[in-house]
Symmetry: C2
Subunit: 322 residues, 2 copies
């Protein structure tokens, strides 16, 4: 373990440094088919492979009760996990939900969270199978773990992209970030953007189709398109060039960007939480329905470029440059 | 769903009412071999059964940094989950750990938690396979999920106790509660009790042996012996009578009880967090090594009695009575 990173405060490191610090040196027994570092882990059982991932939401960091209903929050924590499983090519089966709940909370609020989790799981035939509840003096914390079945298929990893592959995207991208901008500035509309932040509309079916169609890598966009494609680039040891003209800037983004004198492309490139799915496919493959091409995998320097240039700015993108 | 419980505050209901409120009406698809209500859930995969459980620890509620090191806390959250799997008769394989960490925390502290989790998992050959990290403005929250393999065996459920069965116990019982009493009164010793609170010494091997020996039901004692045997009694629809003379009151408990003028049996009967294992076995069965008989399953009223009498007191037991 790199001791030098261990004496830094959590506020001084990014999440990935923190994960490295935490996970360095852990053993990887033979039955761990795929360990830390992808959307989900894969464990060999006696006769099959279970895929597992976990995602935690914290009040004030990931949601506000003033902006989201309990059911919205349930949908979000479920979607974050289920999208991870689908991005592995796994069939989601089950969710476990642990909650820390302030004592003054109505129990119906917590029940509504679970109803939201189950409603999202219903989209895939999955079920809430367990969890844990605790009271807290702090903010609400909801931690969900999802389990899926590989059903004999190989996991679609972040590391499978190869030069010559097409890079493709499916689903809303930038909507949740735009919704956050809207709410943060005190507005409640456009409603479609605010709703997109509250409840992602994850393209599960397209993800399942991508797995069947031979995607070489896939990831759900939770940190931002540039950041998550960066994970694929790093894991695959390739470059990824996005063609900005190919990115779809949906009408609600355009309209709202005009109102706020912003560049809507920044939402598309850096917005997370929509759980759109980005995948790579062989250069000659037909893309599965709903996916559209946004760029290509190149053999040059590892990393992500936009129209051949390195993205700039604090969150990996700045419109006005160089 | 029972709406009347939904408008009560979390502070007004017990955990089991809260769970009922939260889980009522959830679907149970065919692949859920065992859903909510036992130590862990069981999911049928293509060719095997995965067992999953989750347990959350909250700073100030379940641990204090002044009393426990990060590694201690890692051991505890792992033990709480691994004991649940072993109590099902499952072979533990993997752990996922999600953490909410205050920004001023040193990253090494979080890494030490994971080291503690892995060190506990090493006792069973299990591995940390994933997780999630987030910063928080509130208390530390650590949520772990454990996965195990049934390996073709049937889960040992809470509902399998039958009249005539022997009730047996293995492992330290009451030590953690005594350790908490010691620390709460400002003492740091006896060290063995304080250490027992910090790191449970779970009788994993005995639990695995109990599964092989045909235990009819099994539970890890996390809420207290009376409370957890109550879960078996309720689930099995039986009465359980504990013989107080048969309960072992270990020397450190006796000595400390004298010093504090307390009844050590109250720690044994109501103390949780030791993750001792309570199980029932057919009346004519030889008990597996280390287990000792503490009572019997009776066909009378559902519930737990001590020497034929109903336990009394706020936490289910009061020495001076009736």
């Amino acid at each position: 373990m790199d001791r030098s990173t261990r004496i830094r405060r959590v506020s001084q490191v990014n999440e990935f440094d923190l994960i490295d610090t935490i996970t360095s040196g852990l053993p990887v027994p033979d039955f761990v088919a795929l360990g830390i570092g992808d959307d989900a882990a894969v464990v060999d059982l006696s006769g099959s492979q279970v895929v597992a991932c976990t995602d935690m939401l914290i009040e004030g960091r990931h949601f506000r009760k003033a902006w989201s209903s309990a059911e919205d929050i349930g949908h979000r924590v479920a979607a974050a996990n289920l999208a991870d499983l689908v991005a592995m090519g796994a069939a989601p089966l089950a969710l476990m939900v642990a909650m820390a709940i302030p004592v003054e909370t109505e129990t119906g609020w917590a029940a509504d969270v679970i109803d939201g989790v189950q409603a999202e799981a219903d989209l895939l035939g999955a079920a809430v199978i367990g969890g844990d509840t605790n009271s807290t003096d702090g903010p609400i914390v909801i931690s969900a773990t999802a389990l899926g079945d590989m059903r004999g298929r190989n996991p679609i990893r972040r590391s499978g992209a190869r030069p010559g592959d097409q890079v493709a995207l499916v689903g809303r991208q930038g909507w949740a970030a735009a919704g956050l901008t809207v709410l943060s500035r005190g507005f409640r509309s456009p409603r479609v953007l605010v709703d997109a932040l509250r409840r992602p509309n994850v393209p599960y079916e397209a993800g399942i189709a991508a797995a069947a169609a031979g995607a070489t890598s896939m990831i759900d966009v939770s940190d931002g398109l540039l950041a998550d494609l960066g994970h694929i680039a790093d894991a695959s040891g390739v470059g990824i060039d996005i063609e900005s003209d190919a990115l779809r800037v949906d009408e609600p983004l355009k309209d709202t960007a005009v109102a706020f004198t912003m560049d809507p492309l920044s939402w598309v490139l850096t917005g997370g939480e929509d759980h759109s799915l980005a995948a790579t496919f062989p250069g000659d493959a037909s893309l599965p329905e709903s996916f559209y091409r946004i760029g290509r995998v190149i053999g040059d320097k590892v990393g992500v470029t936009v129209d051949g240039n390195e993205p700039r700015g604090a969150r990996g993108w700045r419109h006005f440059g160089p």
